[in-house]
C-alpha cells in the first residue's frame, strides 16, 4: 500500500471488557467493576447529549432519571423528529417467544456472522443480552407493538435470520420506539432534569487537558454561536449516509458532529463500511432530493425477479413465469429472498449490469406480490404492508396491488463511525459515542432490525452503566470561555461561518453535495476497486478546492439560514468522503457492505482476507496536508469461528 495515502501508527485495543471471565459474564462483570456515582453527587455532574434519536433520546432520558444534569441538543424543532422515526421494519430481541431455537447466543452468532466477522465479539454479545430488556422497557412505556389475538407480542422473521425474533409495530416500528423514548425524555424535561436546546447544531468539540469538556453550538434561529460545558459529552448524532447525497437518510442527517470530534482527536473506525439497502424506490430524475426505503420485511412475501432476456421491456404482468429469473431464489435456495442486505443489493446490481434491469435507465428489479396475493388474499397483504404499498403508490403514481413494485438499492446505514471501547468511550476521554454514530456492533454489515436494537441498547442500558465509571472522577475543574482552548474553538467556528458566507462564488451547497454524492456512489458505492477509488481520491480534493473558492451562500449569519447550515455539512462530508475512500482502498478485501472487485470468489461472492484484514481500521486525523494515521485493532474470535458467510 502506498504510504502517501496514510501512515501506520500504534495498534489500539479495547481495554475495558473483562477478558478474564467467559463472554456471557463479561457485561455483568463490567457493570460490577465499573465505579458508581452516588445519587447526591450525580446532581453535581453535567452531561451533554447531542441528538435525540433512539440512542440520544433514550440516553438523555435515562441519565436524567438517574439524577445527572443533562443538557440535550438537537437541530430539529422537536426531539420527536430525529431520523430514527423513519425506521420501518422492527427490532430484534432474543426472547425466543416462538420457541424456534432462538437464544442470546444465536442472536450473538447471527449478528457476528451477518457482520461478516468484522465486529467485536464482546460488544455483540452484550447487545444480544440487553436486547430482551429493551422489549420489556418499551412495552412498559406503552409502545404499541403488534400483538396476536391472545394479547401476546407478535414476531416476524427478517433478513439474515432463520428464527422469528423481530418485534414490530406495523411498518412504523422506529416511530413508535422513538416516541417511547421521546415521551420519557419530555417527562424528564418537565421534571427539570434535562435542559433542552432545540434547533441547535453542534459545530465543535471542546477538549481541555485531554478531556472532552463541552461543545460549541450554533442556535439555528438566531445564528448565535455559543459554548456549553459539561463533565462528559455524548454524541448520538447518527450516521453519515448523506455523504452520498442520495440516501434514505433524512435531508438534515449529517456527519458534522462526529467529524468535528474526529478532528479534535477521536479516531474514526471503518469509515468505508456502508450499507446499501436492497428495497428502495428507484431514482426518477436529476432533481431527486432523497431516496425512500421500503421495509425489508417486504421480502418476506414479495419475490424478487428480472426478465431472463436482456432489454425485455414488456409489461411485467405479460412476462410468463418461465421467462422470469427469480435470481435470489435461484442462487440462494436456503435463504431465497431473505438473504442479508449486502447480498441482495449486490445481486440486484449484477442483474442490472447484465442489462436485465427494469424501469427508467434499467436501474431496477421487480418485487412481486402476485403469489402472496393469491396465497394470502389482498386483505392480508393490506394489513401487513398497507402503509408501504400506499407510500409506493404516492411516490411513483403506480398501484403496487396491480403491478409489481420496482426496487433498487440505496445507501441506508453506515456501520463505520467513531471508534469506541467496550464502555462506548471514544479515544478522547469523556466523549462517549452511541447509536449509529459509533462503529461498535455491526461489523461490515448490519442485519435488519438491529439498528433500533443497538440504538436503544446503548442509550437505555449500556451508556448509563459504563459512564459512571468515568464520571466517578468528576466533577472536573470548572471551565469557561476564557480558557484558551475554548476561545480557539469558538473562534474557529465563527471564522468558518464567516468564510462560508464570504466566498460568494457561483455554486450552491446542494450542487457540490450532488456532485460529491454521485462520485461516491459511482466510485465508492456497492462495488469498489483500486482503480475507482484512486479516481475518487484524485477528484475529491478538486471538489474541495472548488468548494472553498466557488461556493455561494446567500442570506445572513444572524437568522435561520438553511443554506449556511447545509454548506457547513457539505464541507465536512467532502473531508469524510476522502477518508472513506482511503479506508476502502487500504482494505483490499471484500467483507459485508464493502465489496472490492478484486476480492471475490469464482461465483462472485465477497471474499474476505482474514489473514490480513481481521481488524478494525481506526483512523487518526492529522493536521492539514499530512496523511491520516491508521491504528489497527485486531479482532479475535473466541466463540464464533471465522468462516465464509454462506446463505446458500
Amino acid at each position: 500500500m502506498p504510504l502517501d495515502l496514510f501512515t501506520v501508527g500504534d495498534p489500539i485495543a479495547d481495554t475495558k471488557a473483562p477478558m478474564d471471565v467467559p463472554i456471557g459474564e463479561r457485561w455483568s462483570t463490567r457493570r460490577f467493576r465499573a465505579r458508581l456515582v452516588n445519587p447526591a453527587n450525580r446532581r453535581k455532574l453535567t452531561v451533554i447529549v447531542v441528538g435525540t434519536g433512539l440512542a440520544g433520546g433514550s440516553a438523555a432520558a435515562t441519565l436524567g432519571e438517574a439524577g445527572y444534569k443533562v443538557k440535550n441538543f438537537w437541530f430539529h424543532d422537536s426531539p420527536r423528529r430525529a431520523h430514527s422515526v423513519a425506521a420501518q421494519g422492527g427490532i430484534n430481541a432474543a426472547k425466543n417467544y416462538r420457541n424456534d431455537g432462538d437464544s442470546v447466543h444465536r442472536l450473538f452468532y447471527d449478528t457476528v456472522k451477518g457482520g461478516d466477522f468484522r465486529s467485536r465479539e464482546n460488544n455483540v454479545h452484550r447487545l444480544a443480552e440487553v436486547s430482551v430488556n429493551i422489549i420489556d422497557q418499551c412495552v412498559a412505556q406503552g409502545v404499541p407493538f403488534a400483538r396476536e389475538y391472545g394479547g401476546l407480542l407478535d414476531n416476524r422473521s427478517f433478513g439474515g435470520a432463520q428464527v422469528s425474533r423481530t418485534f414490530y409495530a406495523r411498518g412504523q416500528t422506529g416511530q413508535q420506539l422513538l416516541y417511547g423514548a421521546y415521551q420519557a425524555l419530555e417527562r424528564q424535561m418537565a421534571a427539570g432534569t434535562v435542559e433542552q436546546f432545540a434547533r441547535h447544531e453542534m459545530l465543535d468539540l471542546i477538549v481541555i487537558d485531554g478531556r472532552a469538556r463541552g461543545i460549541v453550538a450554533r442556535n439555528l434561529i438566531t445564528g448565535e454561536v455559543s459554548t456549553h460545558f459539561a463533565d462528559a459529552v455524548v454524541l448520538a448524532t447518527g450516521g453519515y449516509s448523506n455523504v452520498f447525497y442520495l440516501s434514505t437518510n433524512a435531508k438534515g442527517s449529517n456527519a458534522t458532529a462526529i467529524w468535528r470530534a474526529h478532528k479534535r482527536g477521536a479516531y474514526f473506525a471503518n469509515p468505508c463500511y456502508t450499507q446499501i439497502h436492497p428495497t428502495c424506490i428507484p431514482v426518477k430524475g436529476d432533481y431527486q432530493s432523497k431516496l425512500t426505503l421500503m421495509s425489508e420485511s417486504l421480502r418476506n412475501d414479495g419475490r424478487v425477479w428480472v426478465p431472463k432476456e436482456r432489454g425485455d421491456t414488456r409489461d411485467p404482468r405479460e412476462i410468463p413465469e418461465d421467462e422470469r429469473d427469480y435470481y435470489l431464489e435461484r442462487i440462494y435456495p436456503a435463504f431465497g429472498n431473505l438473504v442479508p442486505r449486502d447480498i441482495a443489493s449486490r445481486q440486484a446490481k449484477n442483474v442490472c449490469d447484465e442489462g436485465r434491469g427494469v424501469g427508467p435507465g434499467g436501474l431496477g428489479v421487480y418485487l412481486d406480490f402476485g403469489d402472496a396475493m393469491q396465497r394470502l388474499g389482498r386483505p392480508a397483504i393490506e394489513a401487513k404492508y398497507g402503509n408501504l404499498f400506499d407510500m409506493y403508490a404516492q411516490i411513483t403514481g403506480e398501484d403496487p396491488y396491480e403491478t409489481p413494485m420496482r426496487i433498487y438499492p440505496a445507501v441506508h446505514y453506515t456501520m463505520g463511525g467513531l471508534w469506541v471501547d467496550y464502555d462506548l468511550q471514544s479515544t478522547i476521554p469523556g466523549m462517549f459515542v452511541i447509536g449509529e454514530a459509533n462503529f461498535s456492533d455491526h461489523g461490515a454489515n448490519r442485519l435488519g432490525a438491529s439498528a433500533l436494537m443497538q440504538g436503544l441498547a446503548d442509550g437505555y442500558f449500556v451508556l448509563p452503566n459504563t459512564m459512571n465509571d468515568y464520571l466517578a472522577d468528576g466533577p472536573f475543574e470548572k471551565v469557561d470561555d476564557s480558557h484558551p482552548a475554548v476561545a480557539e474553538a469558538l473562534q474557529e467556528v465563527q471564522g468558518r461561518v464567516q468564510k462560508l458566507l464570504s466566498i460568494n462564488g457561483n455554486r450552491t451547497p446542494a450542487s457540490f453535495h450532488r456532485e460529491l454524492g454521485r462520485l461516491m456512489w459511482d466510485l465508492c458505492g456497492m462495488e469498489r476497486s483500486e482503480e475507482s477509488l484512486r479516481k475518487a481520491l484524485d477528484r475529491i480534493p478538486e471538489i474541495r478546492q472548488e468548494f472553498w473558492t466557488n461556493l455561494k451562500v446567500s442570506g445572513d449569519q444572524d437568522t435561520i439560514n438553511p443554506t449556511l447550515e447545509h454548506a457547513g455539512r457539505v464541507a465536512d462530508f467532502i473531508e469524510l468522503a476522502e477518508l472513506m475512500c482511503v479506508d476502502a482502498l487500504h482494505r483490499a478485501e471484500s467483507c459485508g457492505g464493502h465489496f472490492r472487485a478484486e476480492s471475490q470468489t469464482p461465483e462472485g461472492e465477497a471474499l474476505r482476507d482474514d489473514e490480513n484484514f481481521a481488524y478494525v481500521a481506526a483512523w487518526e486525523w492529522t493536521p492539514e496536508g499530512a496523511p491520516p494515521v491508521l491504528h489497527h485493532e485486531v479482532l479475535e474470535y473466541e466463540y464464533v469461528h471465522l468462516a465464509q458467510r454462506s446463505y446458500k
Binding site: P39, E65, A66, G67, A190, A191, G192, T193
Partner: protein
C-alpha cells in the same frame, strides 16, 4: 428515582382552570343544547294540535299555563320551563361566545387562501346560524307568544295569531328560513354534543350522523307543517 414536581407557589387555582377549559365550555354547550332540543320536541308535538282545530289548539295553549293548578299557582310550570330555557339559552350563548373569542385569539391573522375539506355547510354556519336563530326566537316570542309583533295584536287568541301570521307569505318565509337554519344547527349540534359528551366512536359515528340528520328533518318538518298548512289554506 424520586419524581420531581415543579410547583410554583401562588398558582394553585386548579378548580378554575378546570371550569374555564375549552372542553368544559363544550359540555355546557352540549347540555344546554340538549335541554333546548327536548323542549323543541314538546313544542313541535304541541304545535300539531293546530290540525285538531281552533278550540283544541287554544285549549292546549291554556293548559300549558294551568298545569299543576290548583296545587300551585297559575303559570308555575310554565315559569319554571321558561327559567330553565332562559338559563339554557344564556349558557349556550356564553359558551359559544367564549369559544368564538378563544378561536379568534388562537388565530388572529387568518389565511390568505383557505378552503374547507371536511366542513359541512351546517358546521360552518353554527356561529352565525346560531345568532340568526337567536334573533328569530326573540321575534317569534314577540310574534306568537306575546303577540306584540303580530298583525292580530296581543289581545287575540293564539290560534288567530298563528293564522294571521302565516297567511302572510313574507312572515312564513322568515319562519322557513329560520327553521331550516335551526335544522342545520341541530344536525351538527347533535353530532357535536355526542362527541363532546364522549359518547361517539368510529362504529357509532355513522349512526349518530344519520340520526342527527333524520331527527333534524323530522323535527323541522313537523314545525314547517303548520306555517305551510296555513299558507296553503289547509288550516284557517
Amino acid at each position: 428515582m424520586a419524581v420531581v414536581t415543579v410547583t410554583q407557589p401562588g398558582q394553585r387555582r386548579t378548580p378554575k382552570a378546570a371550569k374555564t377549559s375549552s372542553v368544559f365550555k363544550k359540555v355546557v354547550m352540549a347540555v344546554s343544547g340538549i335541554i333546548m332540543v327536548l323542549y323543541l320536541i314538546a313544542h313541535m308535538i304541541g304545535n300539531l294540535k293546530v290540525f285538531a282545530g281552533r278550540e283544541s289548539f287554544n285549549g292546549y295553549s291554556e293548559w300549558i299555563r294551568t298545569i299543576g293548578e290548583p296545587a300551585v299557582p297559575a303559570q308555575t310550570t310554565l315559569t319554571i320551563i321558561r327559567i330553565v330555557l332562559l338559563a339554557a339559552v344564556i349558557a349556550h350563548f356564553w359558551a359559544a361566545v367564549s369559544l368564538w373569542r378563544q378561536a379568534k385569539r388562537a388565530r388572529p391573522n387568518g389565511y390568505v387562501t383557505k378552503k374547507p375539506v371536511a366542513q359541512s355547510y351546517a358546521s360552518r354556519t353554527m356561529r352565525w346560524g346560531g345568532v340568526i336563530v337567536g334573533l328569530f326566537i326573540v321575534y317569534h316570542i314577540l310574534d306568537l307568544t306575546m303577540g306584540v309583533a303580530n298583525p292580530e295584536g296581543p289581545a287575540s287568541t293564539p290560534y288567530d295569531r298563528l293564522v294571521a301570521g302565516f297567511s302572510n307569505p313574507l312572515i312564513t318565509a322568515v319562519y322557513v328560513i329560520a327553521l331550516v337554519l335551526l335544522g342545520m344547527h341541530l344536525r351538527h349540534g347533535i353530532w357535536s354534543a355526542t362527541q363532546t359528551l364522549g359518547q361517539s366512536n368510529k362504529r357509532r359515528e355513522k349512526t349518530v350522523n344519520l340520526f342527527a340528520l333524520v331527527f333534524s328533518v323530522v323535527l323541522i318538518g313537523g314545525f314547517l307543517l303548520v306555517p305551510f298548512s296555513v299558507l296553503f289554506g289547509l288550516v284557517g
